[in-house]
């Protein structure tokens, strides 16, 4: 799967790099990776840019990932873009909240490249080979 533009949202720069690396290890060819450290920054990025996939943490300062997902619905550039939450929060209520807010997938930290492949590639219209 090639030529993808991705937005990674996490308040940890280390985690943003790990997500980036895991996407590449999962076989995705990324042409551009945008980064944001919270929901406010992510909204600003999305007003200016178009991406094929958004990956977001939930617990972040300024604006958390759940609020980000809700507010993305009002941004034209985000319409139809799959949003996947990557978070330490594993509770059923968090999953339900995320999916009902508009997220298309949910990955719990810690995660492996295989889990990324399994959850994300189908959202991009591909087969994960499973």
């Amino acid at each position: 799967m090639s030529g993808l533009r991705v937005l990674i949202v996490d308040d940890s720069s280390v985690m943003r790099k790990i997500v980036d690396r895991s996407l590449r290890q999962a076989g995705l060819e990324l042409t551009e990776v945008l980064e944001a450290s919270n929901g406010v920054e992510a909204l600003a990025r999305m007003r200016e840019s178009r991406v094929d996939l958004i990956l977001s943490d939930i617990n972040m300062p300024s604006m958390d990932g759940l609020e980000l997902v809700r507010q993305l619905q009002a941004i034209d550039n985000a319409k139809g873009v799959p949003i996947v939450m990557i978070t330490t929060e594993a509770g059923e209520s968090h999953v339900v909240q995320a999916l009902s807010s508009g997220a298309r997938g949910y990955i719990r930290k810690p995660f492996s490249p295989d889990q990324i492949k399994e959850r994300i590639i189908p959202l991009l219209g591909g087969s994960n080979g499973a």
């Binding site: 985690m15 330490t88 492996s112």
Partner: protein, 188 residues
């Protein structure tokens, strides 16, 4: 106080940690009815399992066996995260400067020296993920316990005073031959 001691004391940083919540009384979901020693044993096993999972998957290097070890007076790095809700307290991860650099370099797959801000960031994420995995493994806790944003303290001269008045659970596994300390201080 002698002048030298006074100067030394004035340079020390004292951090007082507390995590309290307005969570429902009666605490801890499925744990409330168990004897304290059984709670301690169960939570110790869960912390160890959570830490091992994080190091295997996210650091790529497994932790060695856990040892009986006392906390160092000062660890070069301490990352902490608050838990509030059914379980209330502070989880912390302590390690030496050398170990912190190794962990960050492995997480970033970097062969170069990792900048200080990335080391702090990596240790905050380690503590965050251990706490997240811990609460996911305790039945009934995942939805009933909130995590704070992690905080990291580094230096050679600081004291931590957790105000938690309940049990302290601690494991000291090894990482690449050096001890790391993972502690959960619980409010009663």
């Amino acid at each position: 106080m002698e002048p030298d001691r006074r100067r030394e004391a004035s340079r020390q940083v004292h951090l007082i940690l507390s995590a309290k919540s307005s969570g429902r009384p009666g605490m801890t979901s499925r744990l409330a009815g168990l004897p304290p020693e059984e709670i301690r044993q169960k939570l110790t096993a869960v912390i160890e399992s959570a830490a091992r999972e994080i190091f295997e998957v996210m650091v790529g290097t497994p932790l060695g066996p856990a040892e009986e070890a006392t906390l160092p007076r000062v660890a070069d790095y301490t990352s902490m995260i608050g838990l509030a809700g059914d379980l209330c307290g502070v989880m912390s991860f302590r390690c030496s400067s050398n170990t912190a650099s190794q962990i960050a370099a492995l997480m970033l797959s970097s062969e170069d020296r990792v900048p200080e801000d990335c080391i702090r960031d990596a240790l905050g994420e380690i503590c965050n993920m251990i706490a997240g995995s811990f609460k996911a493994q305790v039945m009934g806790l995942a939805d009933q316990c909130m995590l704070s944003v992690p905080m990291v303290v580094s230096g050679k001269d600081y004291q931590l005073y957790p105000l938690a008045d309940g049990v302290r659970i601690q494991i000291s596994p090894s990482f690449e031959g050096a001890l790391v300390w993972i502690t959960l201080d619980l409010h009663s």
